[in-house]
Every structure is written in structure tokens, then in C-alpha cells.
């Protein structure tokens, strides 16, 4: 059955499938790390913690990028009302990115990191060994090349077609993503400068331009599943991303409290980052409002659930859990504790993993030629996946928050001499880490359920 408006939208499919495969890898390595938190020598000689963590976080970043790219290839042609400029280029770039990603992960797993640095000639332009930017320099160059080709392809598509607000916001977000990634190549010897500009990639991605991408995808899906007037949805989109950038750009200051920076960042960062939950709260109001005002009953209930879910969970994870430790006098004690980890988990899942699953849920039935939606049974299994993963993530976050509060109490609040050491504190947190690991297993079950839903077809309909 031909269910796509524009045939070239089909290039999104391999991007989505590969994103899901990497997602599975991310969760498996997360479980390994979670176990190493309590059984310290688990796989110690084979997969040291630092390797597992690098694989866990890098797979996350890469699968989200695959998801964003798939989303862009899917929605940009439809919004622009024209075929993609070059479907061939999109497929070539898919294979380049996939090969570079797989080789990099294999490099992490098969040789010691220092050997990987040597064989990829890191000494010529050292960029490795910084959190989230562990990729060999050659991989980073590959990411830039793929991004340039991708932006060129989308740009040419938008130029020859309709320029909707959704397309413009999506494009601005993606260009921002590419531009800020360039700071990954700046690694000065002076750690003070290194750390300051490292945040230009990390913060300005996740608390800046990625929010544009999220907003654009959510707006697109809401138009489709609710049938609400585009003018209304796009107005909300602009209000939300305006709030996101007005709060989020100077909100970068909440990472500058404890660097070699002037004290005024403690004021600037506290005030502006305290406003960062607002766009996420607006997103919740908007998603529910639009669904309540829907003009049609879209058969894809699962996609609507994901759209509402991502707004709520992004607000909780990025908004509420971010606010918990963003004020400088709180952050002084919580900086770099398990509270940071708690926030990171729910924010990434709620805002970014879930928005990618929202677009996948909406687009996949069409990409696979099934129609507007999967059969009821497949949707039920998909929604089981939604709830299991989401509830498990809530518990992961709560357990890590518990661990974090106790850690701050034992290790950070007392004076030197009375405070417990890091390792002694970790022993006291064991129960929280075990509970977190159990919640992680539930998350995996949810993921399995979610993936199973792709293989359920309505036998009656086929017969």
C-alpha cells in the first residue's frame, strides 16, 4: 500500500531502524554499568566502567542523531510539499554515518582507549578523552561531513518548496547542532578554557538547539494527529522555543558556577536557568490543549500517547529535576553527585528519546506501507512498552535522587575531617543502586515490548 505523500520520505526508514538498534545497545551497556556500581569487579578486566559508560553515552547521542535525521527526512519534504532534493545522498550518508558509528564503538570495545587514540592519530589534533566527546578526531570529522551533506540536502529541499514555521525551526535547530559541534575540535591545554567551551557543545545542544528540534517534531506530530489549525500550533511553537532560548542561552551560566569564572555567573546562571522549566511547562499545556481540541480521531493512539508523554516527561526530567539543583547555593553541594545523574537520565529520556519515539510511532506505519496506524494489538503492545519504559525511568530517577541526597548529606555537607570519603559514601548508597538496577531491567522489558510491537501484524486484515 502506498501511504507516503512523497516517495523520498522513505529514506527515513533505515535511520529509524538503526536508531532503535543502537538504543538496545545503549540500554544493555547501561545495565552493565548499573551492576558495576554495586558489584564493582563485574566484567572488570573485559569491559571497564569507563568503556561501558563511553559506549552508553555515545550510543545515546548517536541514536538520537539518527532519530533527528530520520525525523527531518520524513517531515521536511511533507512540510515543504516537494520531494527530497537527493534521496541518494541521504542513503549514502546513512551508510557513512552507520559505518563510522559502528567502527567507533568497536574501537572502544576492542582496544584500550589509549591504543585507539594512537591508531587514530589523536596526537596530531587531540580532541579525545573529554566527556561525551570521546570519539576519535577522525570520527568527529566524519560527523561534520555527514551533517553538512544532510543540511545541504534539507536546505535544497526547503529552498524549492514551502517554507513552513516547522521547517524553519527544524532547520535552525539542526544548523545550530552542527555549528556548536565545531567546539568539539577546540581543546586548549588550559583546562579552564577547555571546560568553559566544552559546554558550548553540551549545554547549547541539549538546553538550546535540540529544544528547537524537539519543538518542531512535536508540532508536526500534533498537527497530524489532532488536525488542529496550523496557525495555532505554529504560534505555540514560536512561544515555546522563544522561552527555551531566552532562558537557555544565559542558563548556560549554571555550568559556570564552579569553573575559573567571575562570580556573576552564579547570579546570571541561577536566574535564567530557573526559567528553563517554563518552556517545558508550556509544552505540557500545549500538547494537552491541542489533543483536547482535536478535530479528528486519529487511529494512531500510540503516537498521541508518545506526544503527550514526551511533553510531560521532558517537563519533569529537564524542568523539575533540572530546577532541583540549578540554583548556585544548592548546586555548590550537589554538583557532580548522583543528583546530576538522576536529572540526566530523566531529561534525556523524556525530552529526546521520547520525541524520537513519538515521530517513529507516527511515521513507521506509513513508512512500512501499513497505513495511518498499526493494528490495535500492535498499538497495545507499543503502549505497554511506553508505560514500562516511562515508569521504569521515573523509578530510576527517584532511586538516583535518593542516592544523591544521601551522598550530599554524608560526603558534601559535613566539614573536612567529618565528611565521609567518596568510596565509603558509595557503600552506603548500595540499596539505591540495586533498586535502580532492578528498575533498569524493567526498562529493558519495556524496550523489548516496544520493539515487539513492530513485528505484530493483523492477520485478519491480511487474509
Amino acid at each position: 500500500m502506498d501511504t507516503l505523500k512523497y516517495q523520498s520520505q522513505a529514506v527515513a526508514k533505515p535511520y529509524f531502524i538503526f536508531a532503535m538498534i543502537l538504543f538496545v545497545g545503549q540500554i544493555l551497556f547501561g545495565l552493565i554499568m548499573g551492576l558495576q556500581y554495586v558489584v564493582g569487579d563485574f566484567l572488570g578486566g573485559i569491559i571497564p566502567f569507563n568503556v561501558a559508560r563511553m559506549v552508553h553515552t555515545n550510543l545515546l547521542i548517536v541514536w538520537l542523531l539518527f532519530g533527528f535525521m530520520g525525523a527531518a527526512y520524513y517531515l521536511v519534504p511533507e512540510e515543504a510539499e516537494t520531494e527530497l532534493y537527493s534521496p541518494q545522498l541521504a542513503i549514502i550518508l546513512f551508510w557513512i554515518f552507520a559505518a563510522a558509528g559502528v567502527l567507533t564503538i568497536l574501537g572502544y570495545l576492542l582496544v584500550p582507549y589509549s591504543t585507539l587514540a594512537d591508531i587514530t592519530l589523536n596526537h596530531l589534533w587531540p580532541t579525545m578523552g573529554r566527556e561525551f566527546l570521546e570519539q576519535p578526531t577522525i570520527t568527529k570529522i566524519g560527523i561534520v561531513v555527514v551533517c553538512l551533506g544532510f543540511l545541504f540536502n534539507l536546505g535544497m529541499t526547503i529552498l524549492k518548496g514551502r517554507k513552513t514555521a516547522i521547517n524553519m525551526v527544524m532547520m535552525t535547530g539542526l544548523i545550530g547542532l552542527a555549528v556548536f559541534f565545531l567546539f568539539a575540535f577546540y581543546n586548549p591545554t588550559n583546562l579552564a578554557l577547555d571546560k568553559y567551551f566544552w559546554w558550548f557543545v553540551v549545554h547549547l545542544w541539549v538546553e538550546g538547539v535540540w529544544e528547537l528540534i524537539m519543538g518542531a517534531i512535536l508540532a508536526y506530530v500534533l498537527i497530524k494527529v489532532t488536525g488542529v489549525d496550523r496557525e495555532v500550533i505554529e504560534k505555540w511553537l514560536y512561544v515555546i522555543i522563544a522561552m527555551a532560548l531566552i532562558s537557555g542561552i544565559l542558563g548556560t551560566g549554571h555550568h559556570f558556577y564552579w569553573l575559573m569564572t567571575p562570580e556573576y555567573w552564579q547570579w546570571v546562571g541561577s536566574i535564567f536557568s530557573a526559567l528553563e522549566p517554563l518552556p517545558f511547562f508550556a509544552m505540557v499545556l500545549y500538547a494537552f490543549n491541542m489533543v483536547n481540541r482535536r478535530r479528528r480521531e486519529h487511529p494512531n493512539k500510540a503516537a498521541t500517547l508518545w506526544a503527550l508523554g514526551t511533553a510531560v516527561m521532558a517537563f519533569l526530567g529537564a524542568g523539575v529535576w533540572g530546577f532541583l539543583h540549578t540554583l548556585s547555593f544548592v548546586n555548590y553541594y550537589t554538583h557532580g553527585s548522583q543528583i546530576t545523574a538522576a536529572h540526566g537520565h530523566m531529561a534525556f529520556y523524556g525530552a529526546y528519546a521520547m520525541i524520537v519515539m513519538t515521530i517513529i510511532s507516527y511515521a513507521m506505519p506509513k513508512l512500512r506501507g501499513i497505513g495511518e496506524a498499526n493494528c490495535n494489538k500492535a498499538q497495545v503492545i507499543e503502549m505497554w512498552g511506553f508505560w514500562l519504559m516511562t515508569v521504569a525511568m521515573v523509578f530510576i530517577t527517584l532511586f538516583l535522587t535518593g542516592a544523591g541526597i544521601l551522598q550530599v548529606w554524608l560526603q558534601r555537607l559535613p566539614e573536612s575531617g567529618e565528611a565521609l570519603s567518596f568510596m565509603a559514601t558509595q557503600d552506603k548508597l548500595e540499596i539505591f543502586y540495586w533498586l535502580r538496577e532492578i528498575a533498569g531491567v524493567i526498562f529493558l522489558l519495556g524496550l523489548i515490548s516496544y520493539l515487539t510491537s513492530f513485528f505484530i501484524t493483523d492477520k485478519k486484515a491480511q487474509a
Binding site: F49, A192, A419
Partner: protein, 148 residues
């Protein structure tokens, strides 16, 4: 949202607001970079410190440890490890570093394992110099106590 508030107005707030706050951010960044030498002791960055930073990166130390609170939370904060383990002297810290790095992995059943990175004496000395330099950074009074 009220009908009199149009999409065009929302768009203008988005573009105007983003550009305005981004320019402020750039201005503050410019000022911060100018002020940084007062706090980062850059005159103490020797060649050994520089080599130490490369070793820190090349062995992905940040994959387990944090440095000024950033990194992984699996192993202790190392910005102030010089103060915590050095006993107040460079000799003390270097002796500790040499013993510690060569003793890995400790192989205590169930305990978190630090790998052995097979660094030679010169490299351990460079890493120690880097960590000594980081301990002298002025990060606005962080960490709260010696435990990091």
C-alpha cells in the same frame, strides 16, 4: 492563547529574544575569558602539566572520575586529590601516585576496579603535575570539603 497575539508576534519574540540574549552571552563570554587568567594559574602550566593533561585524556580518566565535578560519578573527584592524598607536599603526592597507579588493579573482590594503565614513571610524574596544577585552580570555592 488570545487571538490578538499573532503568530508573527510570537516569531518576532523568538528571533529578537534569541539574538539579544545570545549577544549578551557572547559579551559575558568575552569578559570571562579576559578575567580567567586571575583564577586559572596559567603561568604554572609547564610542559609536564601539558603532557599530564594529554595522558588524562588519552586514558579516558573522565570515564570514571570527575574533575571539578564534571565527568563520571563512579570514582572520586580528582581536582583536589593533590590535597587529599598528598599530605601537604609534592613529594608525598608523587609517592602516593606512583604507588597507587602501579598497584592497580587492586583485585579486591566486589570492589570497583581501577584498571592498570601501564604508565611509566615519567608519565605518572606528568599526571601528578597536572593534578597538582588543577588543585591550585580557583573554582569559586568548590569543592565544599576535602572529600570532593
Amino acid at each position: 492563547m488570545s487571538e490578538s497575539f499573532t503568530k508573527g508576534m510570537a516569531r518576532n519574540i523568538y528571533y529578537g529574544g534569541s539574538v539579544f540574549f545570545f549577544l549578551i552571552f557572547l559579551a559575558l563570554t568575552f569578559h570571562t575569558v579576559k578575567e580567567m587568567p586571575k583564577r586559572d594559574n596559567r603561568h604554572n602550566i609547564t610542559e609536564a602539566v601539558e603532557r599530564g593533561k594529554h595522558l588524562w585524556e588519552k586514558n579516558n580518566c573522565i570515564g570514571c572520575h570527575s574533575l571539578i565535578g564534571e565527568g563520571a560519578y563512579f570514582a572520586p573527584e580528582l581536582m583536589n586529590v593533590y590535597d587529599r592524598r598528598g599530605g601537604g607536599s609534592e613529594e608525598g603526592f608523587k609517592a602516593f601516585m606512583n604507588g597507587w597507579m602501579n598497584a592497580q588493579p587492586l583485585n579486591i573482590p566486589g570492589r570497583r576496579q581501577m584498571p592498570n594503565f601501564h604508565l611509566n614513571d615519567q608519565e605518572i610524574d606528568d599526571l601528578a603535575e597536572f593534578l597538582k596544577w588543577t588543585s591550585e585552580l580557583d573554582a569559586n570555592g568548590w569543592p565544599p570539603n576535602i572529600e570532593g
